[in-house]
């Protein structure tokens, strides 16, 4: 059972454009939603994260939009750059202290073309 669904699987965006990746979750007990960025040959690294009591969080060119009623959240990358080319994973974590399990989406391979 895939508890966090991510789309699209791959995305090609022109330099300077906006990249948008979407995720949907099923478990309403999730209460922490991070996005991870992974470059080839490297481990995932935390990019930005949000809690469901906030509808939007912005850090530089990266913004998470969160829709609690629809159980959806998305990552927007403004002014996309070739250096943003990577695989992006959304994830969700449960509410229990000590339940550190991250459930990941299936990943989006983003390519920024000049």
């Amino acid at each position: 059972q895939q508890q966090v669904k991510q789309s699209p699987q791959s995305l090609i965006v022109q330099k300077g454009g906006i990249s948008i990746i979407n995720c949907a979750y099923e478990n309403t007990a999730f209460d922490y939603f991070p996005w991870y960025q992974q470059f080839p040959g490297k481990g995932p690294a935390l990019l930005i994260a949000i809690r469901p009591d906030v509808s939007e969080k912005k850090e530089g060119r990266f913004t998470i939009s969160f829709n609690k009623s629809a159980k959806q959240f998305s990552l927007h990358i403004m002014d996309s750059q070739p250096g943003d080319s990577a695989t992006y994973f959304c994830a969700a974590k449960g509410p229990n202290f000590g339940n550190e399990k991250l459930t990941f989406g299936t990943g989006t391979r983003l390519t920024i073309i000049p």
């Binding site: 922490y32 991070p34 992974q38 040959g41 490297k42 481990g43 995932p44 690294a45 935390l46 994260a49 809690r51 695989t87 994973f89 202290f97 000590g98 339940n99 550190e100 399990k101 991250l102 459930t103 990941f104 299936t106 990943g107 391979r109």
Partner: protein, 113 residues
């Protein structure tokens, strides 16, 4: 300087062999994890330890046995390797609780011949 380090980076071995992957973190975290990333890049947690105590044990064949000698180390031993075990294995660590980010190592690519 490396926060979460894994060894080896690459592991090529024959089916049926036993192998181990080591992980060490110098971040002072008390929780460590093993993840498996398959050929389609899907990331799935396998195990989690907090202060040497197993707290997450997903549905993983018992050929996989994690061992945490102290809270800075979490090793993964795999017995009787199978073709389906070919994947990239990531170690990660975090502080426990709340919105603590998980810090990942650069992975061990395991290839079974």
């Amino acid at each position: 300087d490396t926060a979460v380090s894994q060894t080896p980076k690459y592991l090529v071995t024959q089916m049926g062999n036993d192998k181990s992957i080591k992980c060490e973190q110098n971040l002072g975290h008390d929780t460590m994890y093993w993840y498996k990333q398959d050929s389609k890049k899907f990331l799935k947690i396998m195990f989690s330890y907090n202060n040497k105590e197993l707290i997450i044990n997903e549905t993983v064949p018992n050929r996989f046995s994690p061992k945490s000698p102290d809270k800075a180390h979490l090793n993964l031993h795999i017995n009787s390797l199978e073709l389906g075990d070919s994947a990239v294995y990531f170690c990660a660590s975090s502080r426990r609780g709340g919105d603590q980010p998980q810090h990942f190592g650069d992975g061990t690519r395991l290839s079974i011949l």
